[in-house]
Amino acid sequence: MSDLTAAFSTAVSLILSLDSDLVEIILLSLRVSGSAVVLAALVGLPLGAAIGVLRFRGRRALVVLLNASMGLPPVVVGLLVYLMLSRSGPLGWLGLLFTPGAMVIAQTLLVTPIVAALTRQAIEDLSEEYDEPLRSLGASFPQRVATLLYEGRLSLATTLLAGFGRAIAEVGAVIIVGGNIAHVTRVMTTAIALETSRGDLPLALGLGLVLVGIAIVVNGCAQWMQEVARRAAA
């Protein structure tokens, strides 16, 4: 119990002191995971929407595969990206290993299936209602997909938040491809892992509480933006 109290007071003092290292770590976490979500959205939204709208052979198997890949273990993704980006790997010449870029790539791979799978479900439900009317208005396939994505924007925002939550909370992938280098690739989760391994559990838990706080702030902002959008366009 005293551990928890200590963790809580550590978290509060961390936030109040606005430690510059902590701010740097928070900003890098947001930048890496935010970038990963944007990239995952660029791929996952159209991909999920296309699978939601199209009917083709092997579609059911693809949907199963997509849904299953939402549960990809971060460590496995991290290892795959490491092997690709390692100097001895096929993309070693990029020199991306142990940089924030590598972390963005790994988290993008983790988040894209989530975005695509949840988008597929949302768009499939929407297209039941919209597809024939849109076709009768003369909308081409890409136009229909774009329209469905726009119509589903409120539920898709939740999808992106789910992806962001996964990215900002995972440690397995970023610690392998980022290396947890101080001031370069250290993010909230790898900092927590480091303090845990040093046995400084109150500091680790304090950082964890800060992370939870960030998640609440991000989700609160998103919720508020959704409310505004909902009032504006029903």
Binding site: S136, L137, T147, A233
Partner: protein, 260 residues
């Protein structure tokens, strides 16, 4: 002429005349030849053949499950028939998809303003903005929705939503406008307002083809009746003749309100 591809004609520039009136494509008459639609061994449309000419308001009448909605979907290229042909004619038949419009029983409105819903359809046709604005204003005024133009479409009443769907279809100035049970869920006042709007569309020279199971509405609107029963066309006659004395037992029973 085989069933036209709904996507054809996109590459061609839209011909326009001066003013808000778009240059209408001419794709009628429409001919169905022996159209068959089967699902799980059941014939939902059974050798359906008829011809629809320019001019009169054609009402497809029949009990629930007669295949009225399916017939409209086949005409609009949304369902490929299992046998038979749908043939568009006229000088612009190769662009049939652009010359027709369909209003669904449950209006599909986008999550944006009433104005933007009509604008969406016109943008799909790549019509320039000044012309779009003029056209939207015209159809919204004619359907008495202009004062609601900036309201979110999905917050309108049922009758207003159905009129908006009609206005959106009309904005594209189709040669033929199909309506599927447009007043099925409306109260008498809303129904009257909608029927007025449909008459306005008809007065603009657009051919109206609508389905209904409502006899009174059919009598008010129809110039000719196509009576459908169990996927087969039993009668195609001028409306006055049909209501004076239908030729088939099924139609007589339907007129008397008996369960078929």
């Amino acid at each position: 002429m085989p069933q036209p591809d709904p996507l054809t004609g996109r590459a061609q520039a839209t011909r326009r005349s001066a003013g808000a009136q778009l240059d209408r494509l001419h794709i009628l008459p429409l001919r169905l030849e022996g159209v068959v639609l089967e699902r799980r061994g059941v014939r939902l449309l059974d050798e359906l053949s008829f011809q629809l000419e320019r001019g009169p308001c054609s009402v497809i009448l029949g009990p629930n499950g007669a295949g009225k909605t399916l017939a409209l979907r086949v005409c609009n290229g949304l369902l490929p028939p299992d046998a038979g042909r749908v043939i568009w004619d006229g000088p612009d038949a190769h662009q049939a998809a652009r010359g027709r419009a369909l209003v669904f029983q449950r209006p599909m409105l986008l999550r944006r303003s009433a104005w933007a819903n009509v604008d969406y359809a016109l943008r799909l046709r790549r019509i320039p903005k000044p012309e779009r604005d003029q056209r939207i204003e015209t159809v919204l005024r004619e359907t008495r929705l202009l004062t609601l133009a900036s309201r979110p479409a999905r917050q309108l009443s049922g009758g207003e939503q159905q009129r908006l769907a009609l206005a959106r279809a009309w904005a594209m100035d189709p040669s033929v406008l199909f309506l599927d049970e447009p007043a099925a869920a409306l109260d008498p006042g809303s129904t009257r307002a909608l029927e007025e709007a449909i008459r306005a569309v008809r007065a603009s020279g657009t051919k109206i083809v609508m389905t209904t199971h409502d006899l009174a509405q059919a009598e008010r609107m129809a110039d000719e009746i196509l009576f459908l029963h169990q996927g087969r066309l039993l009668e195609q006659t001028p409306a006055a003749d049909f209501f004076a004395g239908p030729r088939t037992d099924e139609a007589r029973a339907f007129l008397k309100g008996e369960v078929l």
